[in-house]
Amino acid sequence: MNTVVAKLQRQFQDYLVSLYQQGFLDNQFTELRKLQDEGTPDFVAEVVSLFFDDCSKLINSMSRSLERPENVDFKQVDSGVHQLKGSSSSVGARRVKNVCISFKECCDVQNREGCLRCLQQVDYEYKMLKTKLQDLFNLEQQIVQAGGAIPQHFPSYTILRPDIRPCLDA
């Protein structure tokens, strides 16, 4: 029983670390995990779910605003990008946030084509992250079901990119 748990925990840790290494997540995700405890075991999942709902809604409304070339509501698009940038930043969704930065630049110069490309990219990135995090949460569930505890720390042997290195005392 113990080795099953240990194996799952190792799998979980490795997977989480890989998400940082590949740039999907940054330090802010570590901060988010700090806010979860025995009293609020679903906090991260809830927040992340809220975030993905926001993504879907905002992408839809921005898509409508960008639809007709002769009548683009850049103000609305800008507002959507601003919100998306804020929430992706708060969640630690690094790739999504980075696309938002480029997206804002396109919006500022009223570049409809650029905006459409960014919109497509944001859509791709958030959906990609969604599946990754779903896999992570599934691993978590398996650990809990096997009677184990979810690892809170990162393995010290890992050497990560300094720009996205997770807080080692998390």
């Binding site: 927040v47 809220l50 975030f51 940038k85 804020g86 929430s87 930043s89 708060s90």
Partner: protein, 216 residues
């Protein structure tokens, strides 16, 4: 069973984004605060018991008695309708509520905005995403309120929390201070010197200065 539990530090969090409200709420709870969240400046004023519109010219007009006691307000800057800045102004203009510390949050790092808010009386300006470590800046306000509440109790005297002799903190003095204190020693009378040496040997006061490496 007659224990009266002390009321927690009560923070009013204002943000138009549901996502951000959820985040700040958890951050504050994790920092041992009681939290109430509202989604607009006008709702915040309502909760405080301040009339929103200036029907009379009296900014102190209250519509209802305040529903709850608020110890700190933390608000987003960018909100539709009443911005965080507007809310800050209204609070600071009111005689009843100007003593409540107000913290502004923003996802944008605009120095002019920050100084404007601080000049208007904001205690702190937090850049989003707000982290747990940022909230430690609220601790002094929490301590002040706690001491104030305790001093209002008719119970026995409450000692101030920080007493120099008791804390085993090693003080790292600047070079200047080190030299000053060394110069002062020969000026002490024999008695005082003895007392000091006794204090040092009992381990209660500061350790010898030459053991500390100071980095200036």
């Amino acid at each position: 069973m007659g224990v009266v539990t002390e009321s927690q530090f009560h923070v009013l969090a204002v943000d138009d984004s549901l996502f951000d409200r959820k985040m700040i709420e958890r951050l504050l709870q994790k920092s041992s605060c009681q939290v109430t969240t509202v989604d607009s400046g006008s709702k915040a004023l309502e909760l405080l018991g301040l009339r929103e519109s200036n029907e009379s010219d009296d900014p102190n007009a209250t519509s209802t008695s305040p529903e709850v006691e608020i110890n700190l307000i933390i608000t987003d800057y960018c909100m539709p309708g009443m911005t965080g800045y507007d809310l800050l102004k209204r609070v600071k203009e009111s005689a009843a509520f100007r003593s409540i510390p107000v913290v502004i949050m923003s996802s944008e790092n605009v120095p002019a905005r920050i100084s404007r808010c601080l000049e208007e009386g904001a205690e702190e300006f937090f850049l989003k995403p707000v982290k747990l470590a940022d909230l430690t800046k609220l601790k002094p306000h929490m301590m002040k309120t706690k001491l104030k509440k305790e001093s209002e109790k008719p119970a026995e005297e409450v000692k101030p929390e920080i007493e120099e002799e008791e804390s085993p903190v090693i003080e790292i003095l600047t070079l200047h201070q080190e030299l000053e204190s060394e110069q002062q020693e020969p000026m002490l009378s024999n008695n005082k010197r003895k007392a000091m040496e006794e204090a040092i040997s009992s381990g209660r006061s500061r350790p010898k200065y030459n053991d500390i490496t100071t980095s200036v």
